[in-house]
Symmetry: C2
Subunit: 484 residues, 2 copies
Amino acid sequence: MSLSSSDIPIKVEFISENGTLANQLANHIRGMVASGRLVPGDRLPSTRAMASELKLARGTVSSAVELLIAEGLFETRIGAGTFVASEAALLQEPQPAGSSDVVFNDTPTADIDPKISCDVDFRPCRPSLDGFPVQVWRRCLSMAASSPLSPDYGDPLGDIRLRTVISAYLRRARGLVAGAGEIVITNGSVHAMHLLAHVYLSAKSKVFFEDPGYPLARQTFALSGATLEFCDVDQDGILVETLPDQVPASSLVYVTPSHQFPTGGRLSLRRRHELSEWANCHGALIVEDDYDGEYRYDVPPLAPLASFDRTHVVYCGTFSKTMFPGLRLGFAVAPKPIVEAMASYRALAEYAPSAITQVALASFISEGHYERHIHRMRRIYRKKRRFVVDFLESNRLPASFLGLDSGLSGILKFDTNKPIADLCKELQKQKILMPPISRYWVRKPSAVNQAVVGYAAPSLTEIERGLEFVFQTLRQIQPSAVAT
Amino acid sequence: MSLSSSDIPIKVEFISENGTLANQLANHIRGMVASGRLVPGDRLPSTRAMASELKLARGTVSSAVELLIAEGLFETRIGAGTFVASEAALLQEPQPAGSSDVVFNDTPTADIDPKISCDVDFRPCRPSLDGFPVQVWRRCLSMAASSPLSPDYGDPLGDIRLRTVISAYLRRARGLVAGAGEIVITNGSVHAMHLLAHVYLSAKSKVFFEDPGYPLARQTFALSGATLEFCDVDQDGILVETLPDQVPASSLVYVTPSHQFPTGGRLSLRRRHELSEWANCHGALIVEDDYDGEYRYDVPPLAPLASFDRTHVVYCGTFSKTMFPGLRLGFAVAPKPIVEAMASYRALAEYAPSAITQVALASFISEGHYERHIHRMRRIYRKKRRFVVDFLESNRLPASFLGLDSGLSGILKFDTNKPIADLCKELQKQKILMPPISRYWVRKPSAVNQAVVGYAAPSLTEIERGLEFVFQTLRQIQPSAVAT
C-alpha cells in the first residue's frame, strides 16, 4: 500500500510475539518518521484505507494512530485528516553536512543561557509570564493583522505608530522627552548596541565596561574590534572616577544605571551628573542600558541619563522583561543623526522587525494595558523579593539578599569567604540553576561568595523549595559556613 | 481649564472674525498637538467638561472634536474617551538634536525604494496583496498567540516548528532536501547575506556579482569590506565562463538563477552545473538568491543549485513576495557549520525574529494555505504578465516585454537606441514609477533602452493606464522612437 499520495511504500510484517498488532503498526510508522520517509505535514491515509490495505481490523489501525497522536508525532486537523506533526522533526536524523572545503570566519559563541530543563530556575533576566494578559494581547495582534497590508518593506526606523507611543510613554513614565524621530525600534537592547557599534565604533575606539557586567553586551561590543577596558562598580553602580582622563575618538562607556547588572546597585544622581560631564568633556558616548528599570520598589525615581543629556547618551530599552522575551522588540533613543545612521545600517542587515508585532504592541501600550501590566507585575515581584528576604531571616540562614531597589534579580551573598562556584555547580546537577557572580566577571572576581538570584520567574513555592535546597547543599559542601 | 489630567493649561481667545467658534477651538487644540503639548495617547476631557470650562455650547465643542477626529488627529475609543491619535506625531516638530561633538562612522545609505505616493507603481519586487487570505492569516496569528509563552529568548536558528515545515516544503516544492538543522530563519534574503558576509567574508575576499544586479545585496556584501567584481549576464543568466581561474580564499559568487534580477533570465541547467563545478574547483561559495522563484509560468522547473550541491551553496529564500514584505521572514539553507556560525553571530546582533510570526507562518504553511496562495497568485500574475504582452502587440507599440519565464517583473525593451532614463524621470514626475535598467548597473550600462516593470502589484486597470501614459510620454520626448 501507499501511505500517502506522495508514494511512500509501506510493508509491515506482523510478528505474533511482538506485542499487539496496533503497537507493531505504530512502531513501523514511527520508524518511517524517524528515518525521514514521512516528514511533518505529510498526511496519513484514512484508517479505513489503511485497514483494508493491511488486512487489519479498523479498530487496530485506529488504536495505532491514536497512540501516535498521543505521543505528539501526529496531529488531527478537523475535516482534513491526520498529519505528521512538526515536533516529529526532532526524531529525525539531521542530513549529513558533507565534507566541505569551505572555510569560514571564527565567530565567538554568544554567552547565552542554554535551554535546560530544571526544577527551579533562578537565572536573572527572566520575567514571570503567569500574569500576562494573553487575551488582550491576542486581540491587539488580531487588530494589527486586520490593518491593511502594505507592499512596502517597512521602515528601518521601525513603525511610526510604535515609535510615537514609545515617545509618549517615555515622557509620561520616565520624564524622558524624545520625538518619534529620535527613536529606533530594535529587536531588544543588545540589538541596539550592535547597531550602535557598527555606526560608531572603530578598531581605535575604547569601550569602558562595568565589571562584573552583562556578557552579551560585552561580546557585542568586542565583536566590533574596539578595545574593552573594565571599570569597578560598587553598591552605587560604576565608579566614575576610575574612567581615564584621555580617551580615543569614538569611545563609549556602557552602564546599567537603573539596576547594575548583576550587582543590582542604582547609579546615584551625583554619579549620573559626573558621568555625563565626563562624556561631554571627552566627546564620548554613554550607552544607558535600562534593561529592567521599569520595576522599582519603595525608592524614589532617578532621572535617566538620557533625560538630562540628549547629545551624549544612547538610551536602550527592551520589552523582553515587561512583555515577554520572544516578542523580540526593544528600542533606542539617541540623537537623530545616530538614529538615522543605525537605521541606514540595519537597512542592509535585517532591515526591520515584523510590522504586525510592532503595530500590536503600539495598541497594547496606547490602550493602557502595558502600564497596567507593569503595575501588576511590580506588586508580584515585590512580594517574591520580600519572600526571599523573609525566608533568609526567619530561618536564620547565613546569607543576605542585596541589590533589591529595582529589577528582577538580586545578589545572594553568603556569610563565608569561600568561593561558592562549587555550590552552584552542585546545584545545577540537581537542576537548580543559580549562577555564581564570578560568571559575570572578566577580571579576577573580587567577590566569590555571591550568586545571582532571579526571583521574578519562579513561583513562591519554587523559590522556597529552591532556597531550602541551596542551603541544604551548602551544609553538605561547606559545613563550617552554615555552622557559624 | 486643564485639558487633561496631566495639567496642560489651555486658554483660548475667541475672535469673532476668525471663523466659527468650533473652528477656532479645533485650531487651538491642533496647535497644542503640533507643538507637542498634547501627545499621542493623551485624553481629551469630555465635551461636557470642556463646554463648561470654556463657556461654549456643548454642540460647538462636539463639532470641534468631530473635526479633529475626522482629520485623524484624535480617535475615539469606545467606553474610554477621545485620545490624541498616534498619527498626530507626524504633525510634531522633532526635538532639536543638539549640537553634538560626537562623531560617528559613515554608513552608506541603503539603496531602498523611497515611499512615494504614486498613481501606478511598476517598481519590481512588490507582490499583489489583493488575494492574500487575511482571515486565515489572522487565525494563524491568533493560534500562535495562544500557545504558551516562554521565558526563553528564542532560538537564534529560528523556531524549530517553522524550520521543520520549511524543510518539508522545500523537499516537496523544490526537490531540495535539507534538514531543519541546515535551515536558519532570517528577516528576509538580504539578511541571510548579511549574516553570511559576517561569518564568511574578510577584507581579502572577492564577491563576484551580477551586473546589472540587485542593489541591496551588492551593498550588503560591499559593507563587509570584500572586493566586488562584476560579471556579465545574458538571457540565460550569469556568464559562468567570465569567472576567473584564481580566487582568494573565502570568496563567493552571488546569483539569482530562478529569475535574474532585473533582466529576468533563468540560469540554464548547463550553467548551473558549470557554476557548481567552478565553486568546487576553487573552494568558493555560491549564494543562490531565490527571491521570487515560486512564480514560474509555462516552463519546466529547474533544480535549485542547492539541490545538487549542498557543500558550496547557500540558498536564500524569502516570504516577502509569497506572503507580504512587512512579515520580515525568510530563510537560508546552508551546510550545518555555516548555519550554526550565522546563528552564533546573530545571537550577538538582533538575536532572533519574533516567535509569534514564526509560529503563525509555520501553521499557515503546514495547513496548506501557503501553497494554495502561491498557486492562486501564480494564475493572477500570469494573467497580468499576458496583459502587458497583449497590450504592446494589439496597440503595435514600439517595445517588447522580456524575461517573463518566472518572477514578478519583466524588462520593457523599447525599439530605440536612445537612453530611456529621461522618460523614466518624466514619468516619475507624473507619478508613474518605472525604473530604467541603468539604475541596476554598476559599470557602464550596455542596455540603455530598457526599463524594469513590476507587473504583480498594480491592477489590470492600473497597468493599462500606466502603459498608455508611458507611450504617450515617449511620443512627446522621442517622437522618432514611436514613429518607427
